[in-house]
């Protein structure tokens, strides 16, 4: 199982702040997960529509599309940050 978190407009578009997912296969990357999630429904499709505007963190560290996921990971998706 992995935990998936959504922030800002990814949360609004998916309608979820958190969901869990059984990792379908070993070796799955962040990019693979995005493809899987984008096919889950119209909200998810809208959230991941423009993948260049989606950032990812795995276990609270910034991650890139090639990062390999493991069971127990916390994967967060969010827009480019705008604090400060």
């Amino acid at each position: 199982m992995i935990t998936i978190l959504y922030f800002a407009w990814l949360r609004e578009r998916t309608g979820l702040s958190e969901e869990t997912l059984a990792l379908p296969d070993a070796g799955m990357t962040v990019a693979d997960l995005i493809a899987l999630l984008a096919a889950r429904g119209p909200g998810h499709a809208a959230a991941f529509q423009n993948r260049r505007t989606v950032r990812c963190a795995v276990n609270q560290e910034f991650a890139d599309p090639a990062t390999v996921l493991r069971s127990g990971d916390e994967v967060a998706f969010f827009p480019p940050v705008t604090g400060g």
């Binding site: 978190l5 922030f7 800002a8 407009w9 963190a57 609270q60 560290e61 910034f62 916390e74 967060a76 969010f78 827009p79 480019p80 940050v81 705008t82 604090g83 400060g84």
Partner: protein, 154 residues
């Protein structure tokens, strides 16, 4: 050594400086930046923003700020450092963020202050949503100029 805080409550700049410098006589300069909520958006002359809401990723935020501070401490000889970032709903004029950097020399204090706010803007998990006086609201978009400012330091 660094004080990192993410909070809904406001901060007291004078009290934070006192905390940073208490009992110290080796500090020559303290750089400081305070970010505040503006009611005007760049595209308009008139006040249009009625409130700003800051969302963040609680489990990651303080860790991300800690990494930014550690990088500042690696680049400059700092004698103390404070980063406080507010979250929640803020009105125009309210404080958003405080950065303090103390050093023996002013250039290190000023450069570290500029570095910390540039990197906070691009590497800490905060997102701003603006509410406008006409009732609309929108997520603030990341600015290329912020990416450029952060890139200056690499």
């Amino acid at each position: 050594m660094a004080r990192i805080l993410v909070s809904e409550a406001d901060f007291d700049v004078g009290a934070e400086i006192a905390l940073l410098t208490a009992g110290r006589t080796d500090i020559g300069g303290i750089g400081c930046f305070i970010g505040t909520v503006r009611d005007a958006v760049p595209q308009a002359d008139a006040p249009v923003v009625s409130a700003l809401t800051l969302e963040h990723y609680p489990a990651m935020t303080e860790r991300a700020i800690g990494r930014i501070v550690a990088e500042a401490e690696r680049r400059w000889t700092l004698l103390g450092c404070t980063v406080i970032h507010r979250v929640g709903r803020l009105a125009p004029g309210e404080n958003i963020v405080l950065v303090l950097a103390a050093s023996a020399h002013r250039q290190a204090a000023l450069d570290a202050t500029a570095f910390l706010i540039d990197w906070l803007k691009t590497k800490a998990p905060f997102w701003k949503r603006e509410e406008f006086i006409d009732g609309a609201s929108a997520w603030v978009e990341a600015k290329d100029s912020d990416d450029a400012a952060a890139e200056r330091w690499t």
